[in-house]
Symmetry: C2
Subunit: 201 residues, 2 copies
């Protein structure tokens, strides 16, 4: 049983959350089917309270657990979004990350979520990825190396991705790292993730 906690907060970017959530959900469903329907993995949305969280693009989501009451987490994922500008100064969230990350196998972020991991500590002194528009600002905070040409960056147990949609690629990499390349490919096939962005330059 692997439990991934995805931290959510007002102004978190909608797809930063739901891209990896979808990957983890499909991964769990495929693994459950291979284990006679037993629940083997799960992802939970963790927030300060159980009230609705309003994401950056307006999606209103209900958390599954709170900072004070959640299952033991194997992995943690921090989304980005405009809300990180506020949350970086929220001691409740930052302290929770500081306490929780050291017990996790994988500590991960999407987009500007790495700002919160930098504030809390896990991204200090590490190589990371972030949204293209935030690279300079993040580097200016110091004690971090921003990698600008990689969709996601693995540094020890820290995995950080570029902006928004990059969380999907990172999460597919993670389920492959954990459960094998063929499993990740099966998840990708179920999501029919053979991207064809229109209007390519």
């Amino acid at each position: 049983m692997t439990t991934t906690g995805i931290v959510i907060f007002d102004g978190a970017e909608d797809l930063d959350i739901v891209g990896p959530w979808e990957v983890l959900g499909v991964s769990a469903a495929l693994r459950s089917a291979a284990h006679g329907g037993q629940e083997v993995d799960r992802a939970v949305l963790v927030a300060d309270s159980l009230g609705p969280v309003r994401c950056a693009q307006g999606l209103r989501v209900l958390p599954d657990a709170t900072f004070d009451s959640h299952p033991v987490l194997d992995d943690v994922l921090v989304p980005g979004g405009i809300g990180t500008r506020t949350e970086v100064g929220n001691p409740r969230l930052i302290d929770w990350l500081r306490r929780t990350a050291p017990g996790c196998r994988w500590v991960t972020s999407v987009c500007t979520g790495v700002l919160l991991l930098h504030e809390a500590g896990p991204a200090r002194g590490r190589s990371v990825a972030t949204h293209w528009s935030f690279e300079d600002q993040l580097e200016a905070r110091g004690d971090v190396t921003v990698v600008r040409d990689r969709r996601w960056v693995v540094d020890g147990n820290l995995v950080t991705s570029q902006g928004v949609s990059a969380g999907i690629d990172m999460a597919l990499w993670l389920v492959g790292e954990r459960y094998g390349v063929e499993h990740s490919r099966a998840v990708r096939r179920q999501m029919q993730y053979d991207p064809e962005p229109p209007y390519q330059d």
Copy 2:
């Protein structure tokens, strides 16, 4: 002002909803910024009631409006997911689609959402795309041509996409169709949608 209604229901696939939602949200934000902060476009989640909807992978989302009370919709989007198997027999949803679709500029679906558009009428006699695993079943329903090698299919004002993640590509095409290629490219850049699926075969 363009209003897109995304129909949601228990068992709708999480990313089928939030992929296009993210595209539409970023598109609206960029266009709003270009119009002095004025709201120019919006997307609303429309459901049978205002209670939480539980998506296929467990995401719990609050609807913005109900079938009985929602703003006039310019476009409608129908997600897929396991829940379509139930909803295809739900007269409330099917009748709503039957009434609403004829007034829309674009009638769209992601993944198996096309099943509901077939039941309600708009996909009858049309060329469509769907999830790879559902192509045979959909074709067996008759009065529809399933295109198996296109990420999304445009037939008149009906636009249908392949499985789950394909809704992102379709939505980017739609905002480009409506607001221009450069606008769509700007949305894609903001989402940093330069996919690099791992473990390519």
